[in-house]
Amino acid sequence: MKHLDLSELTALLRECAGQEEGVDLDGDVLDTPFTDLGYDSLAMLQTTGRIERDYEVTLDGIVDGAGTPHAYLDAVNRALAAQEAA
């Protein structure tokens, strides 16, 4: 079953949108708002597009309100599970 974890998400964020100076993405960032990690809405759009391709999942409207990695991962993994069940 497909699943996205924090290290996979941070790796994709780095690849799609770079890394803000002074931010440790390998630290405890699960509940840190994306904006504090240096990622704006475009960075999230770019990363979400990449996840949709890599994981063959549609995330339209699903991750929009997810402001932290925790909320974002929950939303993505719910979508992956729902897709698997369908």
Binding site: R14, C16, A17, G18, Q19, E20, E21, G38, L42, A43, L45, Q46, G49, E52, R53
Partner: protein, 418 residues
């Protein structure tokens, strides 16, 4: 728009008039040198940056030479966050803007809010980025197009990224007038200085060295197809056969003269006069732009010590420019040079680089040479400085000329700092 010269009342010298825009910082990226000092030293050595294209495989194209900026490592100048969202032209622009600000010794963070703005020239925005995303769209589908394409391609992107990086929230914009843009942007920034903005970053840095950009350049029909870099771009030469395209340009820190003096800034010179005209109905108005710029500066033709030519490297266009210069200054009446012979024509960056050359010529009292061309054609009666720099001349005021494809003409008069 009138093309007659306005009558100028006697006025204080341009460098001291209130609202005068002076240049306090210069940044350069050019095919024959990255950074102002490296480039200027290469120019005075007569060192060309034109060579075979290395950025993409040009072997199948009729034109295989270009002027590429050497030794630019983007990650040394642009943050990891900015790399995925910037074209090469924006990365170069950010590096050059920082050099200009460092050179001026000014910390934008210390300026009042809205006290500094950015006006840059562009010809095609982030072309290479755009090509990559269009390829992704048509070969793999819309899901593969970068979200950053939304602005990375855009004409105003260099202005925007410079503004964001340095917190310059004052009057800003982008000017698109092909090769004339490098002067038109400076003219616009100067207007903002006169309206009360204390500091502006302005000029142009451009690049479109990718297959898509190349297709556009080739469609222009005025490129040299020579394979020997030494004879590919010969402005004013009887054997001129077109120009070479290059990348790069220059950005300047412009400040109001009084404010610059108050903070003890070193001043290269003032942007004493600017003008732009447009060709219509087959008539050329480059000379009118020059006359208007002189009038705007409050100087006469006798005050101009050197002319930096547009130097198209096309027989008809060279003749037209030589006629305009000779008509204004007399046959062989003023030293003329075109150091862009060593860089190629840099799109929106070219005239800005010429402006940088003019300012450094005034500073160092030396006229940089036109390389390649040994002597001007018989039908170009101008005193072209060729072979080696000309020293021992008194240089106080320079005229820079630029023409953009489609009819744009621009001229700027720069005066030495006192």
């Amino acid at each position: 728009m009138t093309t007659t010269s306005p009558v100028c009342a006697p006025s204080p010298s341009p460098a001291t008039r209130p609202g005068t825009a002076v240049v306090t910082g210069i940044g350069v990226a050019a095919p024959n040198g990255f950074g102002t000092a490296a480039w200027w030293a290469a120019v005075l050595r007569g060192e060309s940056g034109i060579g075979p294209i290395t950025r993409f495989d040009a072997s199948g194209y009729p034109v295989r030479l270009a002027g590429e900026v050497p030794g630019f490592v983007a990650a040394d100048h642009v943050s990891s966050r900015l790399l995925p969202q910037t074209d090469r032209v924006t990365r170069l622009s950010l590096a050059v803007a920082r050099e200009a600000l460092d050179d001026a010794g000014v910390d934008p963070a210390g300026l009042p809010d809205y006290g500094a703005g950015v006006v840059t020239a562009s010809s095609a925005g982030g072309f290479e980025f755009g090509q990559r995303e269009l390829q992704a769209l048509w070969s793999r589908g819309s899901r593969y197009v970068s979200a950053y394409q939304s602005f990375a391609w855009f004409y105003a992107v260099n202005t925007g990224q410079i503004s964001i990086r340095h917190g310059l929230r004052g009057p800003s914009g982008a000017v698109v007038s092909e090769q004339a843009g490098g002067l038109d942007a400076v003219a616009q920034a100067r207007r903002q200085i006169r309206r009360g903005t204390p500091l502006m970053i302005t000029g142009g840095v451009d690049s479109a060295l990718c297959p898509w950009g190349w297709a556009a350049h080739l469609a222009d029909g005025r490129l040299s197809t020579a394979d020997d870099p030494a004879v590919a771009f010969l402005p004013f030469d009887a054997g001129a056969r077109g120009h070479v395209v290059g990348e790069g340009g220059a950005l300047f820190v412009l400040e109001e003269a009084e404010a610059a003096r108050e903070r003890g800034a070193a001043v290269y010179g003032s942007i004493a006069g600017c003008a732009a005209t447009f060709d219509a109905d087959g008539s050329a108005h480059l000379a009118d732009a020059a006359r208007l710029a002189l009038a705007d500066a409050g100087v006469t033709r006798h005050d101009i010590d050197v002319v930096f030519a547009d130097a198209a490297g096309d027989r008809a266009a060279d003749r037209a420019e030589a006629a305009a210069i000779a008509g204004l200054f007399g046959r062989f009446g003023v030293p003329v040079t075109a150091p862009k012979s060593m860089a190629g024509r840099l799109l929106a960056g070219g005239a800005s680089l010429d402006l940088a050359a003019a300012l450094l010529a005034l500073r160092d009292q030396v006229i940089p040479p036109t390389t390649g061309t040994r002597r001007p054609a018989d039908d170009c009666p101008i005193d072209l400085v060729t072979g080696a720099p000309r020293r021992g001349v008194r240089l106080r005021t320079a005229l820079v000329l630029a023409r953009g494809q489609g009819g744009f003409n621009a001229a700027a008069v720069v005066s030495r700092a006192d």
